[in-house]
């Protein structure tokens, strides 16, 4: 059980990572980030409840809140880019280099 829950968590994490790394659509990448964070939450919640450890459970809550804040920042950035008429595709953001 432990292994499978952790396996799911890690798989989700890797899926999120893959989304972030592979996708160029900024919104999809943002979703990937969320997926990574929340996959960790799964593992934390499961492990915390396994050991009846309130610390981990409260941690999961705090992490959710922080993830939400992060999404706000991310979305606002993406929207701003969109509003400016610039592409929301990451491959367009390559003026800064070298």
């Amino acid at each position: 059980m432990t292994l499978s829950i952790w396996g799911v968590s890690v798989l989700l994490f890797l899926a999120g990572l893959a989304m972030v790394v592979l996708r160029r659509q900024l919104l999809a990448m943002l979703l990937g980030l969320e997926l990574m964070i929340n996959s960790v939450n799964i593992a934390l919640v499961y492990t915390g409840s396994l050991w009846a450890d309130a610390e981990a459970l409260s941690a999961a809550l705090l992490i959710l809140a922080i993830a939400a804040a992060e999404v706000v920042v991310g979305l606002s950035l993406i929207l701003k880019l969109n509003g400016a008429g610039a592409p929301v595709d990451s491959s367009g953001l390559s003026e800064l280099k070298g």
């Binding site: 999120g16 972030v20 900024l26 990448m29 990574m36 960790v40 981990a56 701003k80 610039a86 070298g98």
Partner: protein
């Protein structure tokens, strides 16, 4: 340690910063000019610094909050590094609040005794950073902010995964050493996040882009406060496992970072990007210091060189970025002939550049010397050789800039020169960097403060 004595003293600086943040937002409701806001931010930071200094002997170790030498030294560096930015801050109340929020995050990171608190601190300091970059109003600000955001987000996700792994091993979120492979993997993942923050190769790619798209003073803040916080995080993690894979990889990573930053800085024409790579190279040097510190057992007393380096770098980096602001120079060509147009600025900037290059009798030399010495003591001769080589390469651009400024002739820039405050800041930073070099007794004071040395 009893829980009754909740460490008010330890959290007082954070309180001051929080109040400042609140006041800034309040002020935003009225029509407050930039100047009062700057005063407010500086006052908050100054108060925080004063409070840190006043109660720096108070040591506690609770489940969430921990105050030790690293905490107060780290806070001094983080708040101090923000002051030059605060002094010339633009962008109204939002920027002020973001800056104070970021500083508050660093403060939390510095006093956290718990992995979760570390994460909170990390995010607290990073999120305002993304927004600050995006608010620069420069052509590429959004690009920089987006890159920063996604790279930083990935890093914090990695940190979280590491946290979970560490938790699975130790059954606790406290800053405690684990024993299994899980906790070591957790350390590695969390370490990756820390290395990302400090711009360690190969996780540094975002850094030049962000610095380039920021205003110079903001880049100065990133390269000093933010880096100091990152190093604090790294050292906290390394202290958990001085013989972990993370700690063991630091010399190699540091050497790589140093040489990589140096050769890339050599080819830059844009000054902000150049100093971004220079800051990567310096980060490499610091990573080497941390690696050597870890190799010698990661005792608090041995960390003096790293902190001294951070302190000197705080002055040097803020100094050069303020110099860029004051001279409104964008590319290397803009600096030509500065020595004739503005000798005093050129002199101060030359002093800063020589200090960055690590030439005696400047603080930069002493800092680099101490790190090198730690490497010798730790027997890390290979890393030392690479570090020496990188220092040599770095002379190519630091001295090259001095040459451009002082030896070459050039035309007057049509861009207007910036406020005199930056000019004075350049002077102050240069003088400070020189003073640190002339007074090695500061190092011994630092070493004594950390409980060793002498």
């Amino acid at each position: 340690m009893n829980s009754a004595a909740f460490p008010v003293a330890v959290l007082a600086p954070h309180l001051a910063l929080g109040l400042g943040l609140f006041a800034a937002l309040l002020a935003g409701m009225g029509r407050v000019g930039e100047r009062p806001l700057r005063v407010l931010v500086v006052a908050a930071l100054g108060a925080a610094l004063a409070l840190v200094w006043a109660w720096h002997r108070t040591q506690t170790g609770g489940p969430l909050i921990r105050s030790d030498e690293f905490s107060w030294l780290g806070q001094l560096l983080c708040y101090g590094g923000a002051i030059p930015l605060a002094l010339v801050l633009s962008g109204g109340d939002i920027s002020a609040a973001l800056l104070l929020g970021s500083a508050l995050g660093m403060g939390l990171l510095a006093v956290s005794g718990n992995l979760l608190m570390l994460f909170i601190g990390l995010q607290f300091m990073s999120l305002p950073g993304y927004v600050l970059v995006s608010r620069q109003g420069r052509p590429r600000s959004y690009e920089g902010a987006v890159k920063y955001f996604f790279a930083g987000g990935t890093a914090s996700a990695l940190f979280l995964m590491g946290l979970a792994l560490h938790y699975a091993d130790t059954r606790s979120l406290a800053l405690e050493a684990g024993s299994g492979v899980l906790s070591e993997a957790g350390l590695a993942l969390m370490g990756a996040a820390a290395l990302f923050k400090i711009g360690c190769v190969p996780m540094h790619f975002w850094l030049p882009d962000v610095y380039e798209s920021s205003s110079p003073e903001l880049a100065g803040f990133f390269s000093t406060s933010m880096k100091a916080a990152g190093f604090l995080l790294l050292m906290r993690l390394v202290a958990l496992g001085p013989d972990s894979a993370l700690a063991g990889s630091l010399p190699a990573l540091g050497a790589l970072t140093m040489i990589f930053g140096a050769i890339l800085a050599l080819r830059q024409q844009g000054l902000q990007r150049l100093f971004a790579y220079s800051s990567i190279s310096h980060a490499g040097n610091l990573i080497l210091g941390v690696g050597a510190w870890a190799a010698q057992g990661a005792r608090a007393a041995g960390a003096a060189p790293v902190f001294f380096y951070l302190a000197v770098y705080l002055l040097m980096s803020n100094g050069v970025f303020q110099f860029l602001r004051a001279s409104s120079a964008v590319s290397r060509g803009d600096l030509r002939g500065l020595g004739q147009r503005d000798p005093s600025q050129a002199a101060a900037a030359s002093a800063l550049l020589l200090s960055l290059a690590g030439i005696p009798p400047t603080g930069g030399f002493l800092a680099k010397f101490l790190i090198f010495w730690e490497l010798v003591k730790a027997g890390l001769y290979g890393a030392l050789a690479v570090a020496g080589l990188a220092t040599l390469v770095s002379l190519g651009y630091y001295l090259g800039l001095v040459r451009d400024m002082v030896f070459e002739e050039g035309d007057r820039l049509d861009r207007a020169r910036q406020a005199s405050l930056s000019r004075s800041l350049v002077w102050v930073c240069a003088a400070g960097a020189l003073m640190l070099g002339l007074g090695p007794s500061l190092v011994s004071a630092l070493a004594r403060a950390l409980g060793g040395g002498g």
